[in-house]
Amino acid sequence: MKKTSMKMGVVALAVVAVAAIVSLNVTARAPSLKVATTSSLYDTGLWEYLELMFEEKYGVELDILCVGTGIALEYGKRGDVDAVVIHDKAREEQFVAEGYGVGRVPFAYNYFLIVGPPDDPAGIKGLGPEEAFKKLMEEGAENPQQIKFVSRGDESGTHAREKAIWKAAGFNYTAVQESSWAKAEEMGYIEAGRGMGPTLLMASEMNAYTLTDIGTFLAYKGKLDLVPLVEEGQILLNVYSVIAVSPEKHPDTKIEMASSLIDFLTSSEIQELIREYGVKDYGMPLFTPCAGAEPEQ
């Protein structure tokens, strides 16, 4: 109650607060490289696998922000991250062209898959991706209870690719969103607004089709009651690239560290690790390395 003991109490509390903040390792931490990456890549576990190696080799903290391609690019534009690792060629090129990114470096690729319930009620197995989408739309409009499709609906790279396939199949994307399939009471076409993993889990729960990258699908396969139905087609190619954020727009970004990350990802040693990644757990590789060059189909 006395002023002195009161002051001491306040000082003690302040000391506790400072100690807590210090213990949170804010200042004593090694310099950190912040990378925004697409969830489809993060969910495969590849980053956790590579993170320690990078940190040891370069003596920096690697902070991975797992977000959709859309928000990853937004972080890059605002200078909140030093590099982005995503998979949407068109938007990546635009990002570089607008001066936010230094250069686009592809380092690995795999394929998108159309997956769905094992009994394949729409009968799309073995079709090309465009034909499969066309058929889903036709069957779905007639029978939205049985034929469902879960879209990422989050402006991610995968979502962008889905839109591209719809376009190639002859549908304007807004037409898809407005179709009787999507507007039906039972909601045949659903926009999840979630990352790749949750979207797959949702599709599995609902006996629905969805478009996924092969890496996430394999990583989640044990938890899913879904099978790959369409695996081939030029439009399904999924290239991951890394882009260093340009220091011209945001001088505080760490271009040197970002360059180190690019060197690291395209180094033969890591390329080899990427090639082998997943073989042990899934019986097949999740990625094909491509060391800086655009893969040719």
Partner: protein, 228 residues
């Protein structure tokens, strides 16, 4: 049902084995939310007293606004703090986005209305006669404030506990301004959110149970402290 059961077993396993990663995340949650709650309390208790003991125009409106802000969603605060501390934002120079500092600031903003509002209502619960009696016994304004805070200590501690509970349980702001960086800004809630998105439901449930235990321990500790 089996998932909940498995989650419970997993939680017990993680606690008994003192799983280092879980312990680290739990400790970080505790430190970030505890610091946020502590700093917010150091601001809000005096400020709340100031509002309570002074008559001014618009006081009622101010209190209404404070109470309305109780229900401010944490993602909105997350968004606000993000825009504030983003490199392109007004305080971008500080470079504290995606650090625990930003999370502490976000959580402080989140719980400030609760702490302020509940401090004011706690003080309002103290009889006016107590203030009169203290005044008569020669207490200065500052001494009266301290006494009334002490009289209202149960309600004030309840406010602090509620504030801490809201801070440690929120996910929107932590995810947005902390970024869920492994080993740096990953806390219980963002870890739960990540594990759920990975489909690791048992692990998520287990983390949820540990979060609950953590809150329980803090509750008990604070109640003990107040009874002294």
């Amino acid at each position: 049902m089996t998932e909940i059961w498995d989650g419970l077993i997993k939680a017990i396993e993680l606690i008994i084995s003192l799983d280092p990663e879980v312990m680290e995340i739990a400790g970080r949650s505790l430190r970030i939310s505890g610091t946020a709650c502590l700093l917010a309390s150091l601001i809000c208790l005096p400020l709340g007293s100031l509002i309570h003991f002074h008559q001014f125009r618009g006081k009622r409106v101010l209190i209404n606004i404070i109470q309305a802000l109780f229900s401010l969603p944490s993602v909105i605060i997350g968004l606000f703090v993000f825009v504030l501390f983003s490199r392109a934002g007004p305080l971008g120079e500080l470079g504290i986005l995606f650090t625990p500092i930003a999370m502490i600031i976000g959580q402080m903003i989140l719980i400030t209305p609760i702490l302020l509002g509940l401090t004011i209502s706690a003080l309002s619960g103290v009889a006016k006669e107590i203030v009169d009696t203290a005044t008569s016994l020669g207490a200065s304004d500052f001494q009266i404030t301290l006494l009334v805070l002490r009289e209202a200590r149960y309600a004030v501690v309840a406010a602090v506990i509620l504030g801490f509970g809201r801070a440690i349980s929120e996910v929107g702001c932590a995810l947005m301004v902390g970024g869920n960086l492994k080993g740096f800004t990953r806390v219980m809630t963002t870890a739960i959110s990540l594990e759920t998105s990975k489909g690791e439901l048992e692990l998520s449930l287990a983390l949820g149970i540990i979060l609950l235990l953590l809150a329980l321990i803090v509750n008990i500790a604070l109640y003990r402290l107040q009874q002294r």
